[in-house]
């Protein structure tokens, strides 16, 4: 039986316990969680907050693709929980929460890492930093392409992707 999924674009504070409860599974001995938070500095500039803009529907679709790819690599049984925040966050605010549970620990670590790396490259999400000096700026990101997995992969880069900027 395949594991279960929860994908959401959050506009209320992201709750870690909800992810833990969702991922819990009688048959699973391990869960790995990744929590991304807003930090007070980026590239030497003092940050006071961040606004995330999200193309919701396509982002959810990317989450769904990532769950499929993760199960192909690390097994059907993974339970996968992904929430990304949309809107403004202060320092310490949770921008993303990923939880992956699995029978054994190796799969949950690897799948969780895979998902965060891929989201950074593939999900249509943009980040505007608000600086202490009053300025704000959209952060330079990764160009999208219509291919599949891009970044956190032991396998060699397929020929068809080699032109992509994210390699």
């Amino acid at each position: 039986m395949s594991g279960k999924d929860h994908f959401a674009i959050a506009t209320q504070p992201i709750q870690v316990q909800a992810a833990v409860d969702f991922a819990a599974d009688d048959a699973h001995g391990a869960a790995d969680l990744f929590i991304g938070t807003v930090r007070n500095v980026n590239l030497g500039k003092a940050v006071k907050g961040v606004s995330y803009d999200v193309f919701d529907e396509l982002t959810i679709n990317v989450f769904r693709e990532l769950a499929i790819e993760a199960r192909q690599r690390w097994g059907d049984k993974l339970n996968i929980y992904i929430e990304h925040y949309k809107g403004r966050l202060d320092i310490l605010g949770v921008s993303i929460l990923i939880a992956v549970s699995s029978p054994h620990k190796d799969e949950s670590f690897k799948a969780c890492r895979f998902i965060i790396e891929e989201i950074k490259h593939r999900a249509p999400i943009w980040k505007q930093e608000h600086y202490l000096d009053g300025d704000s700026d959209w952060v330079q990101g990764h160009a999208l392409c219509s291919h599949g997995p891009v970044s956190y992969d032991d396998k060699p880069i397929p020929e068809s992707h080699k032109h992509c900027k994210h390699y």
Partner: protein, 92 residues
Amino acid sequence: MTSNDKLNISVQLFGAFRRVHPRPVELCIERNTKIKAVKSALESALRELNPAFDDTELLSKSVLANNQKIYQDDDVIEESASIAILLPVCGG
């Protein structure tokens, strides 16, 4: 505008594009126009809506997509639709 050979395409803007224009951009294009040409039409429309817009690099780094997938340059638009122009991304 809504004859059989014309399509209404609404292009959603995100991130830095919202500074160029605050609302979706409405395009009227020929049926079966290739994505590459849709992008050019979008560029013209943005210049018309905001004469100060001259950052063509913003567009060259971006891709068009619908709710489900990112378009390739040779894809064609067959129906009126809501699509989106997507700058390089920075989630997580």
